[in-house]
Amino acid sequence: MSYFNQPVLAFLKSMMGSVRDLAPIILVIGFFQLFVLQQPLENVGSLLSGVFFVIIGLTFFIYGLEMGLFPIGESMAHAFARKGSVFWLLTFAFSLGFGTTVAEPALIAVADEAAKVAARSGHINNHMDAMNSYSTGLRYTVALSVGFAIVIGVLRILKNWPIHFMIMVGYVMVIIMTAFAPDEIIGIAYDSGGVTTSTITVPLVTALGIGLASSISGRNPMLDGFGLIAFASLTPIIFVLGYGMIV
């Protein structure tokens, strides 16, 4: 009866899932274009083929996620837990946070914008050199802060520190520093928390946390495995506010 073998059927099934994930965006854009702005869609052909690529992409991504990205993250977490070397685990945590952030395209874009803001407000010189060094400094600051965040988050899992207490300390620091940081940097600092966590970093870091929490006895993966991303999106705010105060 069946002309398809098992993998092809599974792939088609997850492709249908991607179609369903994308349908809301198509509906929103279609509704606003036709009923609110009352303009016909241009380039329908390239639009449709673009949507098709997005569907293919999402399908492959989720397929590969469970085949490759989650297993490698967890197997490394287990291996580090067995090895028992806190030093190497923390070094790995820092490299993962720093390395995945420093080249993040969204961060590069935000850092360049921030340099323009600083130059326009007279905070730094309106020269290419000054702006470049400002934006590079900002990028390394954010990457350092994410590396630091993953280290703190891994230490929390090892030492069983309460997460809500640490997040609240972070909030208090943000509030205090907001009062002293220059006005122009505040919006950028708050935004930098959101742009650091990319599509590859999130699954890897999540798998690392859950792998660690499930291989250390007395830890609950639900309570202790999550939370790494939370640190990674809070520390950049603090570090960027600090950068704005010093530079």
Binding site: G50, D183, S198, A230
Partner: protein, 258 residues
């Protein structure tokens, strides 16, 4: 042939982005752990799929969704369009931007549903919680949080209020909720703030913020255009904790009536 050139370029630029991560993972694997990865072949194929997936995903977004999204953000904030749909008289008031708020809500919710990193976290949360957190429950809770966050952020740009009042009020709500929400949801809720804003949401939302800040009188694109992403990463924390509180309350009510 042109298509294959573009695809090739995109694949190479994605490879460059992924390169540091691959160096870190395999460096530590071979130099520090020094053990063979279980099912190495399957893992490598899986990582190749991830790479291919991101390449196609970005290619499609750049070809189809980003140009349309940016154009719509520009048109909806255009004073000429606003004149035709306004509901007050005299100078433009914040109420006249109602289509902007509705668009912010709808585009925030729908792009979050399609966000790959949120899907990844939802799959893991479902697995780790033994199924008590449903994949769709979490995704919809986060999407609603982003939707409310971005609409509120758009409103802030229109009225020109300082961003830190909103963010600090949000923090206060998060802190209060933390004490009342079921304990197991708290770390996941904190995480969901960071996962919402990556590939799909950031470019579209940034375009909306910039469009608004450029056209609303008295706003500066450079200063007021920022901040929407901050709203989009704060409000999901609140909505995910609310989701857990509501389902706990619902379960308690069910038990009492039995």
């Amino acid at each position: 042939m042109d298509f294959f050139n573009i695809l090739g370029d995109k694949l190479i630029s994605t490879l460059f982005d992924v390169f540091p991560i691959a160096v870190i993972i395999f460096g530590f694997q071979f130099l520090v752990i020094r053990k063979r990865v279980p099912h190495i072949k399957k893992v490598l194929i899986g990582m190749f799929y991830v790479l291919l997936g991101i390449t196609f995903f970005l290619l499609g977004l750049e070809q189809a969704l980003f140009p349309v999204g940016r154009m719509m953000a520009e048109q909806l904030t255009n004073p000429e369009f606003l004149e035709t749909v306004r509901i007050t008289t005299g100078a433009l008031h914040w109420q006249d931007y109602y289509w902007v708020y509705i668009f912010a809500f709808a585009i925030g919710a729908s792009t979050t549903i399609a966000e790959p990193s949120l899907i990844a976290v939802a799959i893991k949360a479902n697995e780790v919680s033994g199924g008590s957190i449903s994949i769709w429950g979490l995704r919809i809770a986060v999407a609603l949080g982003v939707a409310v966050g971005i609409s509120l952020g758009a409103y802030r740009i229109v009225i020109g209020a300082p961003i830190h009042y909103f963010i600090i009020s949000g923090y206060v709500i998060v802190v209060i909720q933390t004490f009342y929400a079921p304990k197991t949801i708290v770390p996941l809720a904190y995480d969901s703030g960071g996962v919402t804003t990556s590939t799909v949401t950031v470019p579209l939302v940034a375009a909306l913020g910039l469009g608004l800040a450029e056209t609303v009188p008295g706003r500066s694109a450079l200063i007021d255009g920022f901040g929407l992403i901050a709203f989009a990463s704060l409000f999901p924390i609140i909505s995910v904790m609310s989701y857990a509180q509501l389902s706990a309350w619902w379960a308690r009510r069910g038990n009492e009536s039995e």
